[in-house]
Symmetry: C2
Subunit: 415 residues, 2 copies
């Protein structure tokens, strides 16, 4: 895409009321726009990153056997009353709304109840199990404070997966396969090295302990104890001798760090299937409730985390797999030969199916480089009168200070 | 995909409170599930169709120069107060909600105001124009009655495109290019022959007359007068001699039909840009408001319309371009040779990248055919002991009563 056509522009400063680094950089670079605290629009560059993250997750959900659906935002209170989660004193971050008739409705906070209720139509016998369903769906949480940019939204896109098994044993097997899929996802989005599977308290809607996935960052709200070698961690909330030994860890090897929760997986047991009557007839003819689990990843939070941990003083640094473009082609100067060299390369890259942002604007080099660093595409190709004279391209990685002159053929090879 | 793995099942009857044909068929076939009146989940088959429609629209939006974004559901009342559309007496189908602080918020009904407000950050000069932005975003409308299935939802996915031009003339050119793109979209989803560009009243938020796209159907809520030969129509609400002659039509050639509005395009003039101060400095240094337009297609309504007009007494008939699968492979009998023939063909189709639903369930032929007709995949391959004895496949189009025996090679060619 031509940068001259992109309607967004970079800004020198973010909004004054924005205190989080991720939102400030993403707004300045033109990836997102703030509607209100915790509520952000995705602009073209931001939406491209979001879709890449979505596709990485979708691929992994398909590998574990998930079937994709899309549930609704408007929710019927009745099923939430059955589970006891309609009451604002129990769940304190509901958004609620009203039909014109006066009846109250929920605005999706999560989907355990609706999905369990929906499956009453399809799960009758143990032969109908297992069922694994997931969606990319917007969640609404009425947070009192929302100062962490994309990391704690009042409105945010979430991948939520739900599992329905016949036995606890089947559930545990699936739970482990999701844990592995999650690590592959964090790996692919560039957070593999600093993300830890972490033993944690499940919270009121889970059964027993659970696993979180925590990424080391000073911007995080959690404190965890990590074993770097074993790649395992314990959340401070359940940090005790019993759990340390359960994980086979040695207290002296553990390191305290701040971290961001980028994913979680919850054993739900039969809590929701019992109250909503999702039962199966077993082989022996007896009726018993289905064993459930839920598994979440917030896509915006993941994007925000990448920005928090992988940026530098000049701007964002996108990992290749989720970068909005594979290469940033920057033309300097308006010399006819230079322009035609850049135009030809742009057209060649597009023909090869390489996703390229082409800075074809007539601005000073300093402005162009500042924009390019801020936007953070992993590879930059610079075309100037000087490089054209040598029939070369100046190639620079966003993570490196040095650049290298290459022929077009050599430059294409690194993409 | 193996049908034995698909968690949805067909049903003999739809919900008792469902009066619309589209929802009844889609629920019975397992494409959607009703949460409440006008609010439907998309199940795996339904989501596949929805995504195909989305991709067809996205392609056409990109051709007219649209840049994709994603705005938010939660909206700040302040910008709606500026345009006068916050008041429930003016817009009577708002869903509203409240922050924990007590402040009221809007739940997205449409996006003219937020998008105009957002662009204040990016449009300053005539050099920043034109801007064309679109999104696939869920809209919420608090309809008193919602009895038309996917055709009038309280919550529904919409493609909304907004145009920002310097002059009325530039706007008109773009408006025509969108009208052409819309006709290509309706063509591709299988409604081309019966969909008419229709002169209509714009309603309170438009400027002057507008164009709708209306599909002939007795399930429709509109009445239009069509000229079949010229492929042009007039909505009853603006059906008068002046408009008939304006369109160069002859009253005697016009036919009255009922129809479904599948798309609309609105000239907005400077109505929103004025109240929200989206102005540019013109070449002559004077400040003037940007000329706007908005362009909508409801994806669910389009899907519902296809079902209304293209089904028969046995079920749905999907056009090729939006069918959930390209072919329905149905195995009859459990003979070892038959099973292995079917399994091999399934694996071969997948290797070729053909999207196939494979009915590998051990059910009676009658049940399998009834399911297949109900689901409505355009082409069916039947493998039975009889066809395997001849090393053939029984091929049948969903729209035809007759089937034909073909070799595997011949059968593959028709896909």
């Amino acid at each position: 895409m031509r940068q001259s056509q992109l309607f967004t522009k970079t800004r020198k400063e973010g909004p004054k009321d924005e205190v989080s680094k991720n939102a400030e950089l993403l707004i300045r670079a033109g990836f997102i726009q703030k509607e209100m605290a915790g509520v952000y629009d995705y602009l073209p560059l931001g939406l491209k990153v979001l879709k890449k993250i979505e596709n990485i997750i979708r691929q992994e959900m398909s590998i574990v056997g998930g079937q994709e659906i899309l549930m609704t935002t408007l929710q019927d209170p009745e099923i939430w009353q059955k589970s006891g989660r309609w009451d604002d004193k129990i769940v304190d971050n509901w958004f609620k709304t009203k039909l014109n008739s006066g009846a109250e409705l929920g605005v999706a906070n999560t989907h355990e109840e609706p999905i369990t209720n929906m499956l009453l139509h399809f799960i009758k016998s143990y032969k109908d199990l297992p069922v694994y369903v997931y969606q990319f769906q917007t969640k609404f949480r009425n947070e009192l404070r929302a100062k962490s940019g994309l990391m704690r939204g009042r409105e945010f896109l979430m991948k939520d997966l739900y599992s329905f098994n016949k036995t606890e044993e089947d559930f545990r097997k699936f739970y482990e396969s999701v844990a592995e899929a999650y690590m592959r996802i964090f790996e692919k989005v560039g957070l593999g090295d600093i993300t830890f599977r972490t033993l944690a308290a499940g919270g009121s809607f889970s059964v027993g302990l659970t696993d979180e996935f925590q990424t080391i960052s000073n911007a995080g709200e959690d404190v965890i104890y990590i074993d770097r070698a074993k790649k395992v961690a314990i959340n401070k909330e359940v940090y005790n001798d019993e759990n340390i030994s359960k994980l086979g860890l040695n207290k002296s090897a553990l390191e305290e760090v701040k971290s961001i929760e980028v994913g979680n997986i919850f054993p739900l047991g039969t809590k929701y299937s019992e109250v909503l009557s999702l039962t199966i007839k077993d082989d022996d003819g007896k009726s018993k409730p289905v064993v459930m689990g839920s598994y979440g990843i917030g896509l915006g939070r993941l994007m925000g985390t990448v920005v928090e941990v992988l940026s530098d003083e000049s701007g964002i640094i996108w990992p290749k797999e989720i970068a909005p473009f594979a290469v940033h082609l920057v033309r300097l100067g308006v010399n006819e030969k230079t322009v035609s060299f850049a135009e030809e390369l742009y057209s060649d890259l597009r023909k090869r199916g390489i996703d390229v942002l082409y800075d074809d604007r007539d601005l000073r080099p300093g402005e162009k480089f500042a924009d390019s660093d801020l936007i953070g595409i992993p590879v930059r190709f610079v075309i100037s009168d000087k490089t054209v004279a040598e029939n070369k391209i100046e190639v620079k990685y966003r993570t490196s200070k040095d650049s290298e002159l290459m022929s077009a053929d050599e430059a294409l090879k690194i993409l």
